[in-house]
């Protein structure tokens, strides 16, 4: 089949969503299909721009290319998943979140700050409710995303997990004296919470952050905060790590700390499990909660400095328990049976 993966791309920003699309493309090709990624540029402000992009997506014609039919469109992200096609399957990574669960969020809200925010929110919701159902099948990349679709739009979606990129490369090694926190540096990932928790640990806990900031200024802000908290000597920033270096960090760390705000899916959890490392996450972290079992493969704690500090201290002081939890995590990953082949089979059925 000739398959188009329809997604969006915010220029100069690269994260899990881009890796997701690329992983799907490779898997489709490996299964013998022709696959191409069509990424629509996306800008979400001012609010009217969101509607402009929605209309732009509706006007794209992906039914054929140079006289040859496109057999299937797989839509991943808003508003690219609105692109019409007679044979469309959605595998939704997330909707436009500030029109839904983040509408009123204290730090991640966006639309609510504009006078026409409510009108735009309502239009986005209406379009989702009406147009997602154009697809012959609707999948979500996690239970969390499926739950939101049901809760806000009344749409049933089947959760469909997939392996993280380079899953075959992960291994484990002896734990060294640091926690690993790989992620884009931005408010939703909550590096700030971890820095403030570090200030409250009783043990000399160290954290190695890996990832580039969405905004350079925010990255500087985090570094400045670590200086202000006088924990710079316990913090490292690896901004330009290669894939192999990341795998190496996972292998050598004591555990992974990953406390994002209501993450859609979150590769980090699965990568930690592949590296047989325990994961500390938070009760409001979304996707990771589908995989971490409290006090069995990691710790699930309240999203406050004290609770995170206590979790860091616990794993820091009990290395044997940490190792047991890590191994249990790897076993749990194996039992999930995640495979791209299964994903491709479901999406192309």
């Amino acid at each position: 089949m000739r398959v188009i993966i329809a997604t969006v791309h915010v220029p100069f920003i690269r994260g899990g969503a881009e890796l997701h699309a690329e992983g799907l493309q490779r898997a489709l090709i490996a299964a013998g299909h022709e696959a191409e990624i069509v990424a629509v540029p996306f800008k979400w402000y001012p609010p009217q721009r969101v509607l402009d992009h929605m209309l732009a997506c509706r006007l794209f014609d992906l039914t054929e290319v140079a006289g040859t039919a496109v057999d299937l469109v797989i839509g991943l992200r808003f508003p690219a998943y609105l692109i019409p096609h007679p044979n469309k399957v959605l595998w939704i990574l997330h909707q436009h979140r500030t029109a839904y669960e983040l509408w009123n969020h204290p730090s991640l809200s966006d639309l609510i700050h504009y006078p026409d925010g409510a009108v735009t929110r309502d239009a986005i919701r209406q379009a989702d409710r009406n147009l997602i159902s154009e697809a012959k099948l609707v999948f979500a990349n996690s239970q969390n995303v499926a739950r939101r679709l049901k809760e806000y739009c009344g749409i049933s979606a089947k959760p469909l997990y997939h392996p993280p990129p380079n899953a075959e490369k992960y291994y484990t090694a002896a734990a060294e004296d640091f926690f690993f926190f790989p992620s884009r540096i931005c408010v939703p990932k909550r590096q700030e919470l971890v820095l403030r928790a570090l200030k409250k640990t009783r043990q000399p806990v160290r954290v190695r952050f890996a990832g580039t900031p969405d905004r350079a200024a925010y990255g500087d802000e985090m570094k400045s905060l670590s200086r202000k908290l006088r924990i710079s000597d316990r913090v490292e920033w690896l901004e330009e790590a290669t894939d192999d270096e990341l795998v190496d960090q996972y292998a050598r760390c004591l555990g992974v700390i990953y406390p994002p705000i209501d993450e859609d899916y979150g590769y980090v959890t699965l990568e930690a499990m592949l590296a047989a490392k325990p994961v500390i996450t938070c009760t409001d972290s979304g996707g990771p909660l589908e995989f971490v079992q409290n006090a069995s493969t990691g710790l699930i704690v309240a999203p406050d400095e004290e609770a995170v500090a206590e979790a860091l201290d616990r794993i820091w002081t009990d290395r044997e328990e940490a190792q047991r939890w890590g191994e249990a995590g790897r076993n749990a990953y194996e039992s999930l049976g995640l495979s791209w082949a299964r994903v491709v089979k479901e999406l192309t059925a």
Binding site: L59, P115, A118, V119, N130
Partner: protein, 409 residues
């Protein structure tokens, strides 16, 4: 339902603040979670017992807080001092405009001179209004005439909601019995501008053979006291017509409680009248002009006067009154029956909330309407080069699909 309410607040010297708003506030705050918004520096302390009062400044609008509400109401009237900043906010935040005047000509002229073409006709006034309210989702008007005119634009959800009126304490309780014997007490009250036709009334009374069987009391501010006095003198009505001037509300209600007939003429303008509701609240018969809102009042509740033969009609009604005062008394009773529940504050607030629900359902389409405009602007440079309408149809279809509406062929 959470409601933002933009309105001049008491003690602002505005009828909308003092009469209208005071009348509906208890019902509004008991039926919705209301936040009052103002840029006034002071307001009556007792408002806080009904709803929180928040202040705003145009340059630093607290949009996240405003967006917590389900819907926002903007009270708009013709006085730029009370409604200028409210209108400015309404241009940014889509909501429901409560239109207290259909013609906002004075408002535009004083608040934003030059922004709108001068209005020499009602059509021009309405066109200005259309532009001024283009960001509104819904409009509330108080007359059927305004409702019909605004509906022709097919631009907003328009609701005609009869003016609210709360019974004054005197009208609720014991009231002096009217004499129904001459001399009968006639009353004119309010801000007596030219449109209140006082000189015509004085002419009718002055040339009426049985004029001595009436006493006319004139309450309120006169637009030209000299002219009124001259007219009274001209017809020798010094004994029958007494200028009482501006009096407190309670004094006016006391006067109405013992009156026999009220003359409430309006021409050429005939907007919905709080005065008429007050008349009815006292169970009083009234003579009104057959124009605008008043023209639609039932003959069983008022006596109509044609603008083109008002003196003759007034005299005819006064003569009929002398012959059969009981028939007029029944008009007053019928008027009072009409007042409730039709004009009850609770009825008014219920209508506002029903409209809100309708507007909320429509709101997603409002954003799409803006999209239509922007798409048109973007396409206009090359729109003439199309050989067929297909590209336009395609855009129109997809805009319709976003708004959940059926596509065109």
């Amino acid at each position: 339902m959470k409601v933002n309410w933009f309105c001049p607040l008491p003690p602002a010297r505005s009828g909308i603040a003092v009469d209208f708003f005071r009348t509906i506030l208890p019902a509004l705050s008991s039926r919705a979670e209301v936040t009052l918004w103002t840029d006034q520096t002071d307001w009556s302390a007792d408002l806080a017992s009904h709803a929180p009062v928040r202040t705003f400044r145009l340059k630093e609008m607290p949009w996240p807080e405003l967006n917590q509400a389900d819907i926002t109401f903007f009270n708009l009237g013709n006085n730029h001092l009370f409604h200028g900043t409210i209108w400015e906010v309404s241009r940014l935040l889509p909501g429901i405009a409560i239109l207290h005047d259909l013609r906002l000509d004075d408002f535009f002229e004083n608040w934003c001179p030059g922004l709108f073409p001068p209005s020499s006709s009602l059509d021009q006034s309405l066109n200005n209004l259309r532009v001024a309210l283009e960001n509104s989702l819904g409009i509330v008007v108080h007359t059927e005439d305004a409702y019909e005119r605004l509906n022709t634009f097919n631009r907003w959800i328009v609701a005609h909601v009869p003016l609210p009126f709360a019974l004054p304490p005197l009208a609720n309780g014991a009231r002096r019995k009217r004499s129904l014997a001459p001399p009968y007490r006639l009353i004119v009250f309010g801000f007596i501008h030219q449109n209140r036709r006082l000189t015509a009334l004085l002419e009718a009374l002055g040339t009426l053979p049985d004029r001595d069987r009436f006493r006319l009391e004139i309450y309120g501010e006169l637009w030209r006291p000299d002219l009124v006095k001259e007219t009274i003198a001209k017809y020798g009505l010094q004994r029958q017509a007494i200028i009482k001037g501006f009096v407190a509300e309670t004094a006016l209600d006391e006067a109405l409680a013992s009156a026999d007939l009220v003359i409430n003429l309006r021409y050429p303008s005939g907007e919905a009248s709080g005065s008429q509701l007050r008349i009815w609240s006292h169970g009083l018969p009234s003579i009104v002009t057959r124009a605008g809102w008043f023209a639609r009042l039932p003959e069983t509740a008022v006596a109509h006067v044609s603008p083109e033969r008002e003196v003759a009609d007034i005299q005819e009604h006064l003569n009929h009154f002398l012959i059969d005062p009981e028939r007029f008394a029944r008009m007053g009773t019928e008027g009072k029956r009409l007042l409730y529940p039709r004009h009850a504050p609770e009825t008014y607030v219920d209508a506002l909330l029903e409209l809100s629900a309708e507007v909320l359902e429509f709101r997603p389409r409002a954003a799409v309407h803006q999209l239509v405009r922007r798409a048109g602007e973007r396409m206009s440079p090359w729109i003439g080069s199309f050989h067929s309408n297909d590209p336009l149809r395609s855009v129109a279809n997809e805009i319709l699909s976003l708004s959940g509406q059926a596509r065109t062929r």
